[in-house]
């Protein structure tokens, strides 16, 4: 008979796979009105759920084809006269009121345009669901992306204007990487902005002068890796200093800034950065795992930022990714820069090979 303490310890290390599967399934269905603030970012929420199910190797529980159709309905396609090319990409949701359609030509609407984070998560979600991206208007996406980059190298989210910072450089790098086409961005300028965001303490802030932060550090390093420019942009000395800043973020789990509380999502943001820098192996896996699992919601599934807090799709997904990084059994491995499973990544590589082969034959 287990003592209460032994029972508690057993429960603490028990990873509740099925609860998480059901958590993501519910996320993909209907959310209550209190989630209204997620309306314009619904596609990112879908990405968390779909990629989460992929990490759990449970994609078979959803109807992939129906989901693929919904994603394509969010594509902002060129109008007949192609006058909206610089606004193309993917929407976060149907909130503007464009009638449902999965094919072109695009509908002319004064306020309809893509959002860089939605184009990024739209493409990744399609890949995860096994789509071949053949209905993506790649040239339009890249034109829309190009229109978002500013003189200083950073990106806005939407052509109407928004804040600009390193998050959207990461989204842009993912888009170019997936579409295997870097004409959508000025890499040199982006690298300058990234370098300019490095703080005196060797982490990266959201922009020059701003406080270094685990999320922005991930965006910086992952972007450089996707561009294939990590060692060109940063010296060995700088890389060592960045490694030190990142590895100091571990307290039990990880926090995002010095003297802040730990939060499950940083197990991925900082963990993945450390993995990209080859030093994740030197972190303490047990303490990291124990923290992530302490934020697991045993009733409804998912993970929260802190123990005894409400789970949400972002923390549920990144908690899983954090566990995947430390090699938790029965979780698929995650590509640390692109933030999709290695399985989905291989699908992308095969697709890109097909595109290159086809390009060769179409002269």
């Amino acid at each position: 008979m287990l003592s209460p303490l032994q029972l508690e310890e057993f429960e603490q290390i028990d990873f509740l796979r099925d609860r998480h599967v059901r958590f993501f399934q519910r996320t993909l269905q209907v959310l209550p009105e209190r989630y209204a603030s997620l309306e314009t970012t619904r596609l990112t929420v879908m990405f968390f759920a779909v990629s989460g199910l992929d990490v759990l190797d449970a994609l078979d529980v959803i109807d992939r084809n129906n989901m693929i159709e919904w994603i394509y309905s969010l594509q902002v396609l060129p109008t007949e006269d192609q006058s909206n090319l610089s606004r193309c990409g993917f929407r976060g949701s149907s909130h503007i009121g464009i009638p449902y359609s999965v094919k072109g030509p695009g509908v002319l609407h004064p306020y309809d345009s893509g959002h860089v984070a939605m184009t990024y998560t739209g493409l990744t979600s399609l890949l995860i669901l096994g789509d071949d991206l053949s209905r993506v208007n790649k040239q339009a996406c890249l034109a829309g992306l190009k229109a978002l980059q500013l003189e200083d190298g950073s990106f806005c989210a939407v052509p109407e204007g928004s804040e600009n910072d390193i998050r959207f450089i990461y989204c842009a790098a993912c888009i170019c990487y997936m579409l295997d086409d870097w004409s959508g961005m000025d890499i040199q300028k982006a690298i300058e902005y990234i370098r300019g965001s490095m703080s005196y303490d060797n982490g990266f802030g959201q922009g020059a002068g701003l406080e270094s932060h685990g999320g922005w550090t991930f965006c910086a390093i992952a972007s450089l890796c996707l561009m294939g420019r990590l060692e060109e942009a940063l010296s060995q000395r700088e890389l060592d200093r960045i490694r030190r800043w990142c590895i100091m973020r571990q307290q039990s789990g990880f926090h995002g800034r010095p003297n802040k509380p730990v939060d499950t999502c940083y197990s991925f943001w900082v963990g993945a950065t450390l993995e990209l820098l080859d030093v994740f192996q030197y972190t303490n896996y047990e303490k990291n795992r124990n923290y992530i699992l302490s934020t697991q919601d045993r009733l409804v599934g998912g993970f929260a930022k802190w123990p005894d807090s409400h789970p949400d799709p972002l923390h549920a997904y990144l908690g899983l990714c954090g566990l995947s990084l430390i090699g938790e059994p029965n979780l698929r491995k995650v590509h640390p820069a692109l933030n999709i499973t290695q399985r989905a990544f291989q699908h992308l590589q095969q697709l890109q090979q097909t595109w290159r082969d086809n390009a060769g034959t179409c002269t």
Binding site: V30, R42, E211
Partner: protein, 326 residues
Amino acid sequence: MFYRDRKEWADLEPVPQDDGPNPVVKIAYSEKFSDVYDYFRALLKKDERSDRAFALTAEAIELNAANYTVWHYRRVLLQALQKDLREEMRYITDIIEEQPKNYQVWHHRRMVVEWLNDPSEELEFIADILSQDAKNYHAWQHRQWVIQEYKLWDNELEFVEKLLEEDVRNNSVWNQRHFVISHTTGYSSPAILDREVQYCLNQIRKAPHNESAWNYLKGILQDRGMSSHPGLLEQVLELKETHCSPYLLAFLVDCYEDALENNNQKETLNRALEVCEYLAQEKDTIRKEYWLFLQRSLESRFGPSAASGEPLADGTEPPAGNDCHT
């Protein structure tokens, strides 16, 4: 009363959301919510520029302040209808106080400040937001933008010192300190650099277990000769006895590494390796593997088996046992 029942709105056909046959991540809106947004979508489609549209944006914002399209449309209306921007400042002040972690509201405020070309309320407003959450990233970002754009540097160091007195562990404030000084006096003068070094050490004496202070100290010295700052190493070694922390010890390793790069001495290397061992086994065990990795790395770079002089013709390193004085 729903918009669909108001006669002044009867000319507009509401536009529902259309997610097609298989909606994903669908949010279940109440009738009231759908009603407001169905009419918002109708206005948007026409690109109507009217007072009724402007009024509706406030309702839409109240229901979802994260909808960037609503904010953009409101800005279009602010300009098209020549609305009172001072009133808009009051409005956005209230909204940010309620929802200080929302990107759209801060961006909106920035736009209004730019249009008015008047930053006079900003520092006080941001200070108020920071008094509720002293680490709010949006608040600090807005503050840095205002200060840099309108050259409001004069009192910021004073503000920083006040906040550090309240919480010496607030990393955002240390960052702001660096921001202010690097954009005003800079760190190149020995007087300033020394003042900052002493400031750090004083804060460390008061609160030794403070990564922020140590990061700042290392940050301002790492490219200006950590090991060559007069008297610093001695002060740190003294602090080690009474105010030790993993951060102090890491700083020590970095000092030794800096010294080794300029003058590779066996004694210095041994000290560095010892501190790594101490960190790994006792003072920062969560990072044990990292400190051991660093130890190996230092050994490999500066130890007796490291290359000195030219490699042999076949590309191999000289045999181990050579003294390595670069």
